[in-house]
């Protein structure tokens, strides 16, 4: 009987087996890369907010401290979003006829809260707490980036588990003196490789911060 397949079909068959396997692995790799990419984590993505509130204006230009508005950041899990009355502390007298601020004044007069669009949103199975980080010398900048330069709030870091662990395994690379937690553009006064371990020691930061139960409880 004449051969149905030419000899080269052998190579083709091998190629398609390995090629198929390779394609599956490639898809795997792509899947993993995609879930970590800024597309999935929405890093650097600006949302449409009800009011064009600019951290650059309020923090960078006029130098208001984060704690003026995010009052609970030192004492509780949530940093806190300021109520409209906090805005009115200043805007009852300032820029009262600006179009943007009309919505703030409306909210103040009707008691309807402004509905900000959440930018940072961890999965509900992850426990997070601001106060323990802030009190152990982790600056807002380490997790939120240059907030003082953001005309609109955006995520500066991916907030994936991998990213949390990068610091939880080596907090000495990130810790700051307590008075620098709220500063931006911070540079360690002496080499971080010297300062970091000293601060970790003085804050009594514990080891095993990568135990699953620290964040999944």
């Amino acid at each position: 009987m004449a051969q149905l397949f030419p000899r080269s079909a052998n190579t083709m068959a091998r190629l398609s087996i390995f090629g198929g396997l390779f394609t599956v692995l490639l898809l795997f790799g792509l899947g993993f890369m995609l879930t970590r990419s800024p597309v999935a984590t929405r890093e650097g993505d600006q949302r449409v907010q009800p009011v064009q509130f600019s951290h650059k204006h309020h923090v960078g230009d006029i130098g208001i401290d984060c704690r003026y508005c995010h009052t609970s950041v030192e004492d509780s899990a949530s940093a806190g979003i300021p109520p409209t009355s906090t805005c009115m502390n200043c805007h009852s007298q300032l820029f009262t006829n600006s179009v943007e601020l009309e919505k703030v004044v409306n909210s103040w007069e009707t008691g309807e809260p402004l509905e900000w669009v959440r930018v940072h949103d961890l999965a509900d199975y992850v426990y997070f707490n601001h106060s323990i980080h802030v009190r152990n010398g982790i600056g807002c900048e380490s997790c939120h980036g240059r907030v003082d330069e953001m005309p609109l709030m955006m995520k500066a870091e991916p907030l994936t588990m991998e990213w949390c662990l990068e610091c939880h395994r080596n907090p000495e690379n990130f810790v700051r003196p307590l008075e620098e937690v709220y500063s931006f553009g911070y540079h360690p006064p002496i080499d971080q490789s010297v300062l970091g371990p000293q601060l970790v020691e003085s804050y009594n930061i514990r080891g095993n911060l990568d135990d699953c139960a620290v964040c999944h409880r």
Partner: protein, 209 residues
Amino acid sequence: MSRSKWGARALLLLVALLLVTGCGQQMANQPRVAAYQESDFFDDGSGMRPVPPNTVPQMAGALQEDPVLYTGMTAPDAEGNAGFSQEFPYEMTMEDLERGHERYDIFCAPCHSLDGGGDGMVVRRGYIPAPSLVQQRLLEQPGAYFYNAITNGFGRMPSYAPQISVTDRWAIAAYVKVLQRSQNATPDDVPDGVEPEMKNAETAAETEE
């Protein structure tokens, strides 16, 4: 079992694993309400609940029985006159002053400026001028005067009670007294032997004149 069956199973397993990477995260948004989350359970659409009217607080200090601590006013005397307490409700320590310094810089400095002079950044952007806290008229006022301004507001300045706790308000009041003292200091306030250069600079300036 034939080889092709194993191959098919392996392929099936790989495809199943592949699907895992694309899982939708049901668990990421659980039905519980997180801080500031909206909720369609309540009429106002807010997950965080306001305190119901007529609630009686039961934590320690919630009844605010100590008038000096909570209002800065002394209890009314026989004629019903109450006034600013001349004393702080408790002794201010160095720690309190440092806390007051920090809180002042956060909450007051935007308008009253870091040194109390009243030329803060927000005023420079067009807010009604904030008075100097270190001016002559306010030097005689007790700490309670400043506690009262923070708690109840003053004229067009709103109350800062929602943002600042009672003890922090007293710490700020104490720090304002410190600012007043430091803004009106004389070379004689420098303790002997602490900074002799400063005293010398002063006398040098005097002899030059």
